[in-house]
Amino acid sequence: MNIPESLKYTKDHEWVRIEGDYAIIGITDFAQGELGDIVYVEIETAGDALNQHEVFGTVEAVKTVSDLFMPLSGTVEEVNPKLTNEPEAVNKDPFGDGWMIKVKISNPSEIDSLLSAADYQNLVH
């Protein structure tokens, strides 16, 4: 299972890449594997200011549906446009092409609450 060292993680199986004041967010390789074939990614929170742990969207797989949670408080600045027509990008490349949202971080102290790659590895092991 792929768990890049450079990223931060949550117990809800999201990954976070911190880029200055911004965070790029997606779901992990483990999460996409558990969900199976993803058919829709529904994110209608672009422009919204959301708190940590709030739902920012849902992901529909053939078998199941799952909410997506904000790893950090912030404003959703961008939604990956590719996912509208190519939701399978989340299965194929969860840490790359399958990224989900870009968030302007409103409370940088929350970054400390995220898991390291090693912590996340222990969680899903």
């Binding site: 199976g36 074939d37 058919v39 829709y40 529904e42 849902t58 529909e60 053939v62 078998k63 549906v65």
Partner: protein
């Protein structure tokens, strides 16, 4: 948790295993959509050994089956299978099942894994006045469903039985992959054609290996319960626990075609009245017109946004690439083309009643 005789095969193939009806079963191997497409276009192999099998033997076997099942088992002959259901006393369904006539005065009933104990007790409790011996062979029997348009061609070399000539819902008993007395049945739950093979547990891995060897030039793939569900739903086949249960009537569920009033059976008066007077709700096919998937228990509303029922099964159809569902609606809203709305999380999504099967070959 029980394991089927093929458990180690699934582990070796890297299957994702899930608990289902008390068994550890493969839900998928390489992905639901890929496995689904293998069954629709080539061949897929399902381990459905969790299903239950009862043998009913004796001069009273037919009379007992006739008194408990909705279909007319007197139409059977050795080599013929029938889809049927066991109605209960309160207007619902104990289980749906297959009835095989094996020989004169000998029948095989194939029931859902989740209902093995319930069905056994139900049948047993009604059998006292019949000359019938009941044997539960579920724990000794493996069941492989080899499904898909290329299944018959791929498997023909494994048996002397002329499987190409075996008509739908007919079966033969013969040697298959060197194993004697295999029940070779032209049935399935996918609408893709193919066979179901009933094998003693001890020979299950031998047959599994032979089937994969025979299918290697036909695009054969192992297929899990995930795509079993998408395949059956595309055909509009009922799943017990979702679309039918202890409370739904066969007449409501669109199972009038297996409910024959040529004889008396459990609660047949109620169902005959329903046939004459109509029912208040009906199971219908539903197509969603937006990008959202209706799932079990989601509310169904009419065009004026009154709640008129709920979804019993729903999925993304891999063959048609659109969301499909079945659900119960008031009879007034059950006609093909009727506009509906489905509450999907916080939104009302447009949908309509469509004919089943959703998928046509």
């Amino acid at each position: 948790m029980q394991k089927t005789a093929l458990y180690q095969k699934h582990i070796d193939l890297g299957a994702k295993m899930v608990p289902f009806a008390g068994f550890e079963m493969p839900v998928s191997y390489t992905g639901i959509v890929e496995e689904h497409n293998a069954v629709r276009e080539a061949v897929g192999v399902f381990d459905v050994s969790h299903m239950g099998e009862f043998i009913l033997e004796g001069s009273g076997a037919l009379a007992l089956i006739q008194s408990l099942t909705s279909n007319d088992a007197s139409k059977l002959f050795p080599g013929r299978v029938q889809y049927s259901c066991l109605p209960n006393a309160s207007g619902g369904i104990v289980d749906d099942l297959l009835v095989y006539q094996m020989a004169e005065d000998k029948y095989l009933l194939v029931v859902n894994a989740s209902n093995i104990e319930k069905d056994w007790n139900w049948i047993k409790s009604h059998s006292a006045s019949y000359d019938v011996k009941m044997t539960n062979i579920s724990d000794d029997t493996a069941l492989l469903a080899v499904q898909g348009p290329k299944a018959i061609e791929a498997l023909q070399d494994l048996t002397d039985v002329d499987i190409k000539s075996l008509e739908y819902y007919h079966f033969a008993i013969g040697t298959f992959a060197g194993v004697e007395n295999v029940i070779i049945s032209a049935t399935g739950y996918t609408g893709a054609g193919g066979l179901e093979l009933y094998i003693p547990n001890a020979d299950a891995t031998k047959v599994w290996d032979a089937v994969f060897e025979a299918g290697k030039n036909f695009g054969i793939k192992p297929a899990g319960l995930g795509c079993r569900d998408t395949l059956r739903l595309e055909m509009g086949f009922c799943l017990y626990g979702n679309d039918i249960n202890d409370e739904t009537s066969p007449m409501e569920a669109g199972l009038g075609w297996i409910t024959k009033f040529t004889k008396k059976f459990t609660n047949s008066e109620t169902f005959e009245k329903q046939k004459q007077n109509g029912v208040e709700k009906k199971l219908v096919g539903i197509e969603v017109l937006e990008k959202a998937i209706p799932r079990q228990h989601y509310e169904i509303l009419d065009a004026n946004e009154n709640v008129i029922g709920e979804v019993s099964s729903g999925t993304m159809s891999p063959s048609m690439q659109k969301p499909i569902a079945m659900g119960y609606v008031t009879t007034a809203n059950s006609k093909e083309g009727t506009p509906l709305k489905i509450r999907i999380r916080n939104k009302l999504v447009d949908a309509k009643v469509v004919k089943i099967p959703f998928y046509k070959n």
